[in-house]
């Protein structure tokens, strides 16, 4: 197998824009085009255009599709309405998180169809797990990673930009929904499931249409301040929005309950069978979380200017009380911020005396509730 990084359908566009590229989960992706801070601020105040073609799409069809996904994932997939989407997870038998996912229900009851979108770094693991778990179900699990390019327009100007290019009913498209439509003459699945804390849209299209759509979006968006935006600002945007990232806040060593996301686990499902992979382990994890609260995911805001990074220790009274999972300077707050798992007794917002060990110095931090940033609606 070749170890050369994979290129998205927009690779030539990124290079013509002078993007700084980076290897991400085996893909050569744009990290930033110019200043990541400018890109971040554009998404918060106007709009940004992202290439997210590295995300992993897996299509599940067949009469038993809903029952199968209820078995394979922790959520209640059978209750998703047509044209809606749901945030869910796939876990191992021991309850450890294999990935967090968005599942779109595309087909109605007579032709059940779901699209499962996995993180790039986990797409193969998810595909393998779904394929293995499909054994006894009347379903087809299809690897559609090469079938889609994925563009995202995020930011307050994004509805206006998209409305100028489509007849689709965007006002009727709620957060966490997706519908097929045509954008700039290109067939697309239009979704509203953003990861930046802003309103915005994801457009799943054929790779052959990606450049045309990018061009049309730039033409419509540039006059209102939209800029191409890379993975670097995507990370600071999602961090400000308090959204977990696999490999940081979510890992195979944590169950959804340990990650504070036990609400995504549905023990009661709309299937005849309520068995699902990881059920026994998650039942135990839920009980454990009741009796002995696990470390909690909190926000930390720096009083100084040194930036906490993933893996740094959170300290209080000279003792380690937790660990930073993501940290970065926040363009919106103008201060370094972090997400961290900390012992429950230090997790309350305003807890005094909490610091982060930054290369040997204990820098003071304020404990706050997540998210750091919430858009005005």
């Amino acid at each position: 197998m070749s170890t050369a990084p994979r290129l998205t359908a927009l690779d030539a566009v990124h290079r013509s824009l002078g993007a700084t590229m980076t290897d991400f989960a085996g893909w050569d992706m744009p990290l930033r085009y110019a200043s990541e801070r400018d890109e971040h601020n554009a998404v918060r105040t106007k709009a940004g255009l992202f290439d997210l073609s590295h995300m992993g799409e897996i299509t599940v069809t067949g009469p038993a599709a809903a029952d199968f996904l209820n078995f394979a994932l922790v959520g209640n997939i059978g209750s998703i309405g047509v044209g809606r989407a749901r945030y869910t997870m796939i876990v191992a038998e021991d309850g450890g998180i294999l990935d967090d996912l968005i599942v779109y229900r595309l087909g109605a009851a007579e032709a059940p169809e779901y699209m499962v979108v996995a993180n790039a770094s986990n797409a193969q693991v998810v595909l393998d797990a779904l394929t293995a778990r499909a054994d006894t179900f009347d379903v087809e699990v299809r690897d559609d990673r090469d079938a889609y390019a994925l563009l995202a327009v995020q930011g307050p100007e994004s509805p206006g930009i998209l409305k100028s290019l489509t007849d689709a009913d965007l006002d009727g498209l709620k957060y966490y929904a997706g519908l097929p439509g045509t954008v700039a003459g290109v067939s697309a699945l239009i979704a509203r499931t953003g990861y930046t804390g802003e309103d915005g849209f994801e457009l799943f299209v054929s790779p052959g249409d990606a450049e045309k759509l990018w061009g049309a979006l730039m033409e419509a968006g540039t006059p209102v301040g939209m800029v191409p935006a890379g993975l670097s600002c995507r990370d600071t945007l999602r961090l400000e929005a308090g959204m977990p990232l696999y490999g940081h806040e979510l890992t195979a060593e944590l169950t959804p309950f340990d990650a504070g996301l036990g609400r995504v686990v549905k023990f009661e499902k709309t299937s005849q069978s309520e068995t699902f992979v990881g059920r026994a382990a998650l039942t135990a994890a839920a009980e454990r979380a009741e009796t002995a609260p696990p470390r909690k995911l909190v926000g930390l805001i720096a009083e100084g200017r040194r930036v906490p990074r993933a893996g740094f220790s959170v300290v209080a009274d000279g003792k380690v009380i937790g660990e930073v999972t993501s940290g970065a300077p926040s363009p919106t707050l103008g201060k370094p911020i972090a997400m961290a798992y900390v012992d429950a007794e230090h997790a309350a917002p305003g807890t005094e005396g909490v610091g982060v060990d930054i290369r040997g110095t204990h820098e003071p931090y304020e404990v706050v509730a997540l998210p750091f940033y919430k858009r005005q609606k």
Binding site: L31, E36, R37, V307, P336
Partner: protein, 125 residues
């Protein structure tokens, strides 16, 4: 990007100005600034500190990472650029000018500092 001809360069991507009365100005190159991304925090050596060629004398923190700042020469620090401490983005916007980092009275320098052309070749490789 072009590297000013009148400067000399280290393998750690610092530039060093010509010496006047034994004092030279130090900064990081545009190549290094671009690689770092937006610099958000600069910890510079303080006036009176002795820095040693090739050894860490400060930190430059960017959105994604923190990098050590190395001294290209040995000597005593005689000035640190407070403008950069106040506005670290100067390192990105004007790495060879307003984004200079510190001035040092040179007492010793390594023999592997590069000319602009050598440094351009070094970063191209």
């Amino acid at each position: 990007m072009s590297n000013p001809q009148q400067l000399r360069y280290s393998k750690e991507h610092e530039w060093l100005s010509a010496t006047e009365d034994g004092v030279a100005t130090v900064g990081i190159t545009e190549h290094a600034a671009n690689a770092l991304g937006d610099v958000v925090f600069a910890q510079l050596p303080e006036v009176g500190d002795t820095v040693t060629a090739g050894e860490s004398c400060g930190e430059l923190e960017s959105t994604k990472s923190v990098s050590d700042l190395y001294a290209p020469v040995t000597g005593e620090v005689v000035a640190a650029n407070q403008d950069v401490v106040d506005d670290p983005s100067l390192v990105n916007s004007a790495p060879f000018e307003g984004g200079w980092l510190f001035k040092v009275r040179i007492s010793g320098e390594p023999d592997d500092l590069m000319s602009a052309d050598e440094y351009t070749a070094f970063t191209a490789g």
